[in-house]
């Protein structure tokens, strides 16, 4: 057998292994999510069936309960959705404005202790949510903003600012500084140069930073579970707990709420995936 043949066979074998491994990986990634979606459409009896039923039947029961049951002791999904939306959108907007200004400072100015400031800000992000929730709970209770949208928004802004700075710093750094110099020579003030030139150029990057911040707020649990108490301020991740009772869990209903939670996240991430990766790596590698 000549050596060419050996190498050719080896290549074929490797290709096969590659394909199988990739397939298994993708399956492991997809199946848990699909299982949730699938079960949101299965009747409870079937979910609970022993031995398991493998041929799925279809029902909208859980969705009907979820949307219809509000107010009659069911889970007030609409309120949770609204709370989540308000808190996430407002906190994201504020975090982006503050973070963008900070990121711009890091990208464009030289100042003493810059690396120190940067790492310092990041370290605040590293404070575990649970550990922060204890004192924050007490402080917010004293100030009287516990169980309000405002309190949660404030907490999320602080949580999102460091990472927004990291991302926007990366995006602004990609823009050559000559661009705002050219704009200034063309007659802009620094402020005009930013809004008319640098911001539009970095727009897609800023958008992905915004979506990242949005997802963090949208998905956050550790803080929200302590800082919100009532229907008026609980967000969806906290709302998921409503489906659990002492010993039983309404799996179908929970799956339905999970699907409701995941859809916006899915759409948004899909929109910005490319910029997101670019932002993360630029901020880090060129930092």
């Amino acid at each position: 057998m000549d050596r060419n043949q050996t190498y050719r066979n080896r290549k074929r074998a490797l290709n096969a292994v590659h394909f199988v491994a990739l397939f298994i990986t993708m399956a492991i990634i997809c199946i848990p999510g699909l299982w949730i979606v699938l079960n949101s459409f299965r009747p409870t009896v079937e979910i609970m069936a022993k031995p398991p039923v493998w041929t799925p039947s279809f029902t909208l029961e859980h969705y009907r309960n979820m949307f219809g049951g509000a107010g009659e002791g069911g889970v007030p999904v609409f309120s949770y959705f609204r709370n989540s939306l308000i808190v996430s959108v407002v906190s994201t907007t504020i975090a982006i404005l503050i973070g963008m200004s900070g990121g711009y400072a890091f990208a464009r100015y030289r100042f003493p202790g810059k690396a120190g400031y940067f790492v310092g800000l990041m370290l605040f992000r590293a404070v575990p949510g649970v550990a922060l929730s204890l004192p924050l709970f007490i402080v917010f209770a004293r100030v009287g903003i516990i169980d309000t949208h405002f309190g949660l928004i404030l907490a999320y802004v602080a949580m999102n600012v460091p990472f927004t700075i990291w991302l926007t710093d990366g995006f602004f750094r990609q823009i050559p500084k000559e661009l705002h110099e050219a704009a200034e020579i063309d007659g802009c003030t620094r402020w005009q140069a930013f809004w008319r030139v640098e911001f539009p150029v970095a727009r897609s990057g800023v958008a992905s930073a915004a979506i990242f911040a949005f997802l963090t707020s949208w998905n956050e649990f550790a803080l929200a579970s302590q800082l919100t108490r009532s229907v008026g301020s609980k967000t969806m991740p906290v709302g998921l707990l409503d489906f659990t009772a002492e010993f039983t869990i309404n799996w179908g209903g929970m799956c339905a709420l999970a699907v409701l939670m995941i859809i916006p996240a899915l759409v948004l991430t899909f929109l910005v995936q490319k910029h997101l990766i670019a932002g993360l790596t630029f901020g880090g590698v060129k930092g």
């Binding site: 050559p176 000559e178 661009l179 110099e181 050219a182 200034e184 020579i185 063309d186 030139v197 539009p200």
Partner: protein, 364 residues
């Protein structure tokens, strides 16, 4: 009248001084090129004129008005950047019109100015493209167009051609020169390429280490360099320099055992035993029979060729004098083999003598 005046302009970056008190007067409509090796402070100087860098000391005046602390937008200048700095999210048309739009000019005036600039630079077919869809030369042209549209008092160019390939660079050089002839504004142009400086400038400002070395017309710098740095920086190939010692009042003994007479121009200005640097350009060392017939003081030398570089109309001959590479030029060339010994004539009255210690030119 828009002359630009720099008096004792200083720039410090922390403790290091990048520009050491520069004095320079640029006349209205003059094309001045700042040239020098990288890090010589030329770009910093330009950026101080533009207002992109604060000045640490001294005074800059544009059109008689001191602009030390004015932001760039109040200096009525325009600038072409090395990497063009076109606004990537705007079309060519928007790029060109941006400055007027910021100045809140009315739409018809903008359209007119943009159209005129586009006409001058041949951009009319590209008006709706974005910078990403343009070639390097086209981007360069848009950058220049953007500068023209403002009809500024002073144009500033910061190494505008260094991102272009050699052929395009030659072509754009001509266009910049034409542009200057057409609009006639004052231009301050920064480059590290002495060819650009020679071809474009009315006046060259040669800089090194934050100091001005020499100011003059291209020919002045070429013919009468003030020191060895100017001699080697300006002109291609660079001037040949050989160390030597003056012996008596009429002879310089060069390293490697050669000796040449002291050119009559500097006779009496050198003293016996003085260490000097003897300099001449390749054009002034030519093989006998392949040279320009020219009157003047001459001296004949025999040198052995180590390498040849035929260029067609002429051939560059490389010889070795005590470890110094010396270049000579051969007109009407014939094939020359390395190792061949040839008789050369040196045009003594075009030679330069520099003091070895100060490297300043000794001149009568």
């Amino acid at each position: 009248m828009t002359e630009v005046n720099l008096s004792n302009v200083i720039k410090d970056y922390g403790k290091t001084r990048a520009v050491h008190g520069i004095d320079l007067g640029i006349e209205d409509g003059e094309f001045v090129v700042l040239v020098g090796p990288s890090g010589c402070g030329k770009s910093t100087t330009l950026r101080m004129i533009a207002g992109l860098e604060d000045i640490s000391g001294g005074e800059i005046a544009i059109g008689g008005r001191v602009v030390n602390d004015l932001p760039p937008r109040e200096r009525n200048i325009s600038m072409v950047f090395q990497n063009y700095a076109l606004y990537p999210h705007m079309t060519v048309r928007e790029n060109l019109g941006f400055s007027l739009k910021i100045a809140k000019a009315d739409q018809t005036a903008i359209t007119k100015a943009v159209d005129e600039a586009a006409g001058i630079l041949g951009l009319r077919d590209l008006m709706d493209r974005k910078p990403a869809e343009l070639s390097g030369g086209q981007r360069q042209r848009v950058a220049m167009g953007r500068a023209i549209v403002r009809s500024p008092d002073v144009f500033l160019f910061d190494e505008p051609l260094s991102n272009l390939d050699a052929k395009l660079r030659t072509q754009m050089r001509v266009e910049i020169k034409k542009l200057h002839q057409k609009v006639g504004n004052t231009i301050v142009y920064v480059t590290h390429d002495q060819v650009e400086a020679m071809t474009l400038a009315d006046r060259i400002v040669l800089m090194r280490d934050g100091h001005i070395v020499q100011v003059g017309t291209p020919l002045e710098l070429f013919n009468t360099p003030v020191n060895t740095f100017a001699a080697t920086f300006i002109g291609s190939p660079p001037m040949n320099l050989i160390d030597g010692v003056v012996s008596g009042s009429n002879t310089i003994n060069l390293a490697g055992g050669l000796s040449v007479p002291v050119p009559s121009r500097v006779r009496g200005l050198v003293r016996d035993g003085q260490k000097v640097c003897f300099g001449f350009r390749a054009d002034n060392l030519m093989p006998v029979g392949h040279s320009v017939e020219e009157e003047g003081e001459k001296h004949e030398l025999e040198l052995t060729i180590s390498l040849t570089e035929p260029l067609g109309t002429e051939t560059l001959l490389f010889t070795d004098v005590a470890g110094n590479e010396v270049q000579a030029k051969m007109l009407n060339p014939r094939p020359v083999r390395p190792g061949e010994t040839m008789k050369f004539q040196l045009m003594l009255d075009k030679c330069h003598v520099f003091d070895a210690a100060s490297s300043e030119a000794i001149r009568g």
